[in-house]
């Protein structure tokens, strides 16, 4: 984890055919290669599914002074990259988990609460992709229109939601994430805390925004002051644009009620 690799992976998750001449493990073929007689079938016959490191939708210094370039370089460049590389390395061993989208992989490796070893890496890749997109330069302020209405409906007021969110950040024991989710069964928004790598999609809920409260997310900028970091996130970083887009998509899956048709 955290060892910087100089290969540049494509920034999306595709199934790719790769040249496996370097990774070929069969000893007989290795000998042939060494003897220089191995030409024809060097082109890959094995399909590898792997995932790429997605860049945040802004430059690494775009969130200054609220989240420093230094933090982004470490958090995205080392931690997030480390999870991607760790996941790819785990997937090399066996093809049991091939062919999934990242969403599917997270749910499959969660294994209904008994997570497989790949879960930590898969979920953290997903979580960090989602987290970068939950922020924007010049973020903060308030949501508008439909999303705001839904928040006011489910929390009473935006202020109340904000308090709940910040309280969750402060009372989370250890490493984890704070989420605003749309709960599928209850059909309402809620603030949820998860530990380590856990992600609300494993319970089939739909995340709207997230805040990383692992210490590495804020320690360089705020030391132990998690409360200040969470406040800054709410006031200056959170992207309500992204949240609104996710909410709109979520409403295709969750029926939030009848539209208000005015009576003539």
């Amino acid at each position: 984890m955290g060892y910087c690799c100089n290969n540049s992976f494509p920034a999306s998750s595709h199934v790719l055919l790769t040249d496996l001449s370097q990774r070929w493990k069969c000893p007989k073929l290795q000998n042939l290669r060494h003897k220089g007689q191995f030409h024809g079938s060097q082109k890959a016959s094995k399909v590898l599914a792997f995932y790429g490191l997605k860049a945040p939708p802004y430059k690494l210094d775009a969130l200054e002074p609220h989240m420093s370039r230094r933090t982004l370089e470490m958090h995205w460049g080392e931690h997030h990259r480390g999870y991607v590389e760790g996941l790819n390395k785990q997937l090399e061993k066996d093809d049991v988990l091939y062919g999934h989208t990242l969403d599917e992989l997270v749910k499959v490796t969660y294994n209904n609460g008994n997570p497989l070893p790949e879960f930590n890496n898969a979920a953290q890749v997903w979580n960090h992709d989602f987290f970068w997109e939950s922020m924007q330069p010049g973020g903060g302020d308030m949501p508008r229109l439909g999303l705001l209405e839904q928040i006011e409906k489910d929390f009473g007021s935006f202020t109340n939601f904000k308090e709940k969110f910040l309280e969750a950040a402060l009372t989370l024991f250890g490493s984890g994430w704070v989420w605003l989710v749309l709960k599928r069964n209850e059909r309402c928004l809620a603030v949820v805390k998860t530990s380590n790598a856990i992600n609300p999609i494993v319970w089939d809920d739909i995340p709207i925004i997230s805040l990383d409260v692992w210490e590495h997310a804020y320690y360089l900028d705020y030391k132990n002051d998690k409360g200040k970091y969470a406040n800054v996130f709410m006031n200056h970083l959170v992207s309500w644009n992204a949240a609104a887009a996710r909410m709109a998509r979520a409403e295709a899956f969750v029926n939030l009620g009848e539209p208000k048709i005015p009576i003539a």
Partner: protein, 228 residues
């Protein structure tokens, strides 16, 4: 600087830094470090030691005392659901206090014997159970590096079986949560706050270097008390 060291030396015997009784309730206070913040350099930076002690440990203590007070009130009122609700906060903050109090005693500057391997019965026990000190260190380092999220890695003694064990605990769970007969000899904090400012995300480097300031004398004392 010397005066401060004198004062802190005297308070070494105070153990967990127990202090005032408020309405019959025993609260805890921050124990002094038996060395200066910068004394463990370069293995652990003074900046980290200061933050770790004055901010993190102090926060656990503050919140633990608060939870204890609330627990006391709830118990007096017979409010069972609040009593149960507070258990999480007590385990987390109380555990944080217990664990860090042990941690400070597990460390000592190089010039005071930090890093010197244990002589006597603990040294023998390590060789018997793990083969060698190197094997033990390798095992602790690999388990410590593998802890996902926040937690601790421990060298413990099962006082019933008289056996040494290496265990990890999550968050601030004390070692005893892994087994009622387990006594902590050495604990290494692998929460990111314990190393991030200096080692960034390279936890294995932190684990490799911390052995230079481990106080085996303290671990031996605890061991010999349980296994005379």
């Amino acid at each position: 600087m010397a005066l401060r060291t004198l004062i802190t030396r005297r308070s070494l015997g105070l153990g967990l830094g127990v202090s005032q009784s408020v309405r019959g309730l025993q609260t805890v206070s921050l124990p002094d470090l038996p060395y200066d913040y910068g004394a463990l350099e370069p293995a652990i930076s003074g900046e980290i030691m200061k933050l770790h002690h004055q901010k993190h440990h102090q926060t656990y203590i503050t919140n633990y005392n608060k939870a204890l007070e609330q627990l006391h009130e709830a118990m007096e009122k017979g409010d069972s659901s609040t009593v149960v609700k507070l258990q999480g906060a007590i385990k987390f903050n109380g555990g944080g206090h217990v664990n860090h109090s042990i941690f400070w005693k597990n460390l000592t500057p190089v010039h005071e014997g930090g890093g010197e391997p244990p002589k006597g019965s603990l040294g023998w026990a390590i060789d018997t159970h793990f083969g060698s000190m190197e094997a033990l260190v390798a095992k602790i380092n690999s388990e410590g590096a593998a802890v996902q999220g926040s937690g601790w890695v421990w060298l413990g003694l099962d006082k019933q079986l008289k056996k040494l064990v290496v265990e990890t605990t999550a968050n601030q769970d004390p070692l005893v949560t892994k087994g009622p007969n387990l006594v902590p000899l050495l604990g290494i904090d692998v929460w990111e706050h314990a190393y991030y400012l200096q080692y960034k995300n390279v936890r294995p480097d932190y684990l490799k270097n911390i052995w230079k300031v481990i106080d085996w004398k303290y671990a031996s004392e605890v061991y010999e008390k349980e296994c005379p």
